[in-house]
């Protein structure tokens, strides 16, 4: 039984422990405190650590008391058993959710799957979605309709567009900004893209605007970086009018 508990606790050598050997007994108690129970702070474990100390048993008595080990247990083996059980309890409480509902069958299943293929259990609910199910496609189409996004045969492209609109226009910062009133950008003014087909020309102009916008974003980031750097390097701009001299 003790062996099983030690396996649970991931003791490095559960089969080789001989608790009747005083030295091994003391080592095991120390290991439990160091790795699992942590009743004392690290610096307070000094006495317990002195395994060769002849008065170690008094230290052990105090330790039992501090753990509230029942007084009825008189044999050292029983006491050790209780301490190991206590460690298992602590371990369980640390991860109640994971261990609750764990049965031997389930464990067996788990162990089998572990040996066959390491599966990553994800917590992201989106991973379980079927992005191509008719239900999902219909949902995307509905969403697109709400945002007046043009039809595209690939619903995932549409979803990307929706995401972009939400990210750019519906974030906290953007919502704080008042909605811009005024004239739309005069997209047909200025030099065109020299396309004969009117539709192609319009598309080219739109693409050009998007390109300009993204370059503008980069330039703004560059400027922000310069300003940040300036705050480190700028030597409060000085002038000294005494140096000035108007020429002839």
């Amino acid at each position: 039984m003790l062996r099983n508990k030690l396996i649970c606790l991931e003791h490095p050598n559960p089969n080789g422990v001989n608790v009747t050997d005083e030295k091994q007994f003391r080592n095991l108690v120390l290991w439990l405190e160091d790795q699992k129970i942590r009743k004392y702070k690290i610096e307070e474990r000094g006495e317990l650590r002195k395994i060769a100390n002849p008065s170690w048993s008094t230290v052990f008595d105090k330790y039992k008391n501090d753990l509230n080990c029942p007084k009825e247990l008189t044999s050292k083996i029983d006491q050790l058993n209780w301490i190991v059980a206590y460690a298992v309890k602590l371990e369980y409480l640390d991860n109640v959710d994971e261990y609750r509902g764990m049965t031997s069958e389930k464990l067996k299943e788990l162990q089998e799957s572990k040996t066959s293929a390491p599966s990553v259990k994800s917590v992201n609910p989106f991973d379980n979605l079927d992005f191509n199910s008719p239900q999902f496609v219909a949902g995307v189409r509905k969403l697109a309709e709400k945002f007046s996004i043009a039809h595209h045969p690939d619903h995932l492209q549409v979803l990307a567009a929706v995401s972009r609109i939400i990210k750019d226009n519906l974030n906290k910062e953007a919502l704080k900004q008042p909605i811009l009133e005024g004239k739309p950008f005069p997209i047909f003014e200025g030099q065109g893209m020299n396309q004969k087909d009117e539709d192609v020309e319009q598309a080219a102009r739109i693409l050009r605007l998007l390109q300009v916008q993204s370059v503008r974003e980069i330039q703004t980031i560059i400027n922000e970086t310069i300003v940040e750097t300036q705050s480190l390097t700028s030597d409060t701009p000085r002038t000294d009018t005494r140096l000035g001299q108007v020429g002839r």
């Binding site: 200025g190 400027n223 140096l243 020429g247 002839r248």
Partner: protein, 506 residues
């Protein structure tokens, strides 16, 4: 040299369009390509008059006429396409001012010539906008002019008020506008609205003589003399509302500030040093030119490389200079209106260089080529979508800033596709001198000029009033003719006209 009569000379000149002429090979010896120049019917007689006068004097004495200078440039080694004369062309050292030419970087014989850049390396124009209107500024026009005059030292031998030591200068030469940014004199946004982002990366201060550095150090942040000026201007007319709004110019009456300056004595010394060095290199490499003033060196030779690196340092000097004056201008305005430059929206609309040589890629006869483009008294005018212009002007084309003469108007133009295909993406730079400085001094009285400014209600502050007649409007071609010619020829597009209400100059 063959001496021909005026009529014989005319056989080499052929009208191309209403606004341009071709100069055929043979007009000057050894022409490798043809020349071309742009004029309208007002500027045309001036060009031909020059040629006629030089024929009369049998080529002895006086300046070489612009057409001859264009043709001499067309005879330089490695030139591609054509030698281009812009409408504001007038005679200069080696290259005429208003002459641009490009040389093939992959031809080992190609040359670089300091005369093709000019003595005032990276002379250029910067335009700041404000959100002020004429009615806000008019009542304090005199105070503002005085304040600018107090902040920006002007004139020959002026010294700047931004403290700098020799080490600062070395760093500024290497970093250009990045130095001004690092020290906190300018805004991050200024950089993106500047040709080359305000820094030539190949600058090497170690290629610059100690003498140039000594001349340059105290002059940073000064305007200089000659045709340089700082003007408070108001928007007089908007021709292209859409492009103007992209530059933050919304309506007539809006106030802008134009700064026209260069690399001061620093650039002058760099050019002088290079000319001396190149004269030796020409003998060694057996380079022959039609004009002694066209001193040059193979681009790949040590002299050529040294010049390009020193020129880049001088270009950086000019950008730091214009940036320093931007800072001082912002200070002056903020003080006058008791607010901050931010609140006055004093952004740089653009900063152009009109005396510079740059490596650019152009398509010649359907083939992309790497060229060294010399622009002397010529402004880059790249069309919409060109990768080298700022993102804000991708749809309008590069703003081209054309400063007028004292008291006349200035223009903002935009670059065009036609400029890229016809003139290596170049257009005019200013009014262009019509009378020589000496002739102006003889013919015009400076008191008349100052009186003239007064009647136009322009506040004026000058360091040396006796030199203002050199810069009198009468000494120059009409800037409106110049920009109109470029507009009609399609090498730039008129966008905004500005008129001055206050001028400070050397």
């Amino acid at each position: 040299m063959v001496i021909r009569t005026y009529d014989q000379e005319l056989e080499y000149i052929e009208r191309l369009t209403d606004y341009s002429f071709r100069i055929k090979k043979g007009f000057q010896p050894n022409m490798k390509v043809e020349g071309v120049f742009y004029v309208n019917k007002h500027l045309e007689p001036l060009m031909f008059e020059e040629l006629r006068n030089s024929c009369r004097s049998d080529g002895i004495g006086g300046f070489l006429p612009g057409m001859k200078q264009i043709a001499n440039v067309a005879a330089l080694d490695g030139i591609v396409g054509k030698s281009v004369g812009l409408p504001d062309i007038h005679s200069g050292y080696g290259f005429a001012i208003g002459n641009m030419a490009a040389f093939d970087m992959n031809n080992p014989l190609s040359i670089v010539s300091p005369g093709g850049v000019g003595f005032d390396i990276n002379c250029g124009v910067r335009l700041l906008r404000t959100n002020l209107m004429e009615k806000d500024v008019k009542p304090v026009q005199e105070q503002l002019a005085q304040s600018l005059f107090d902040h920006i030292p002007v004139g020959v031998g002026s010294k700047g008020i931004i403290p700098m030591n020799a080490r600062d200068l070395e760093e500024a030469l290497e970093m250009g506008m990045d130095w001004s940014l690092r020290e906190g004199y300018v805004w991050a946004e200024d950089k993106e609205h500047c040709e080359e982002y305000g820094r030539m990366l190949n600058a090497d201060p170690s290629k610059v003589s100690l003498r140039a550095k000594k001349r340059g150090l105290p002059q940073l942040g000064t305007l200089g003399a000659g045709n340089h000026y700082a003007e408070i201007q108001v928007v007089d007319e908007i021709y292209d509302k859409w492009a103007a709004s992209k530059m933050g110019i919304e309506e007539t009456g809006q106030v802008c500030i134009m700064i026209h300056s260069g690399s001061r004595g620093f650039g002058h010394q760099v050019a002088t040093d290079a000319l001396v060095e190149m004269e030796k290199a020409m003998k060694r490499d057996k380079i022959e030119t039609n004009d002694r003033q066209l001193a040059c060196a193979r681009i790949q030779s040590p002299e050529g490389q040294n010049y390009l690196k020193a020129m880049a340092a001088a270009a950086n000097f000019a950008w730091v200079n214009r940036s320093s004056m931007t800072f001082l201008t912002r200070q002056a305005f903020a003080k006058q209106f008791n607010t901050t430059p931010d609140d006055l929206d004093m952004h740089v609309i653009y900063d152009v260089s009109h005396n510079i040589a740059k490596i650019e890629n152009h398509v010649i006869d359907g083939k992309e080529m790497k060229l060294l483009v010399h622009r002397k008294g010529s402004t880059r005018a790249f069309p919409p979508h060109h990768p080298l212009i700022p993102v804000d002007y991708q749809l309008t084309g590069q703003p081209v800033l054309v400063g007028g003469t004292m008291g006349t108007c200035s223009y903002i133009l935009t670059g065009t596709e036609k400029a890229l295909s016809e003139t290596f993406g170049s257009t005019c730079h200013g009014a262009g001198r019509a009378l020589s400085r000496a002739k102006s001094r003889r013919n015009i009285d400076y008191m008349d000029i100052l009186e003239q400014m007064k009647t136009k209600d322009i506040a004026i502050r000058v360091a040396s009033p006796k030199l203002v007649m050199e810069e009198a409007p009468e000494s120059y071609k009409n800037v409106t003719d110049v920009v109109d010619t470029c507009h009609k020829a399609g090498i730039s597009k008129n966008c905004v006209k500005l008129r001055p209400i206050a001028v400070i100059k050397g």
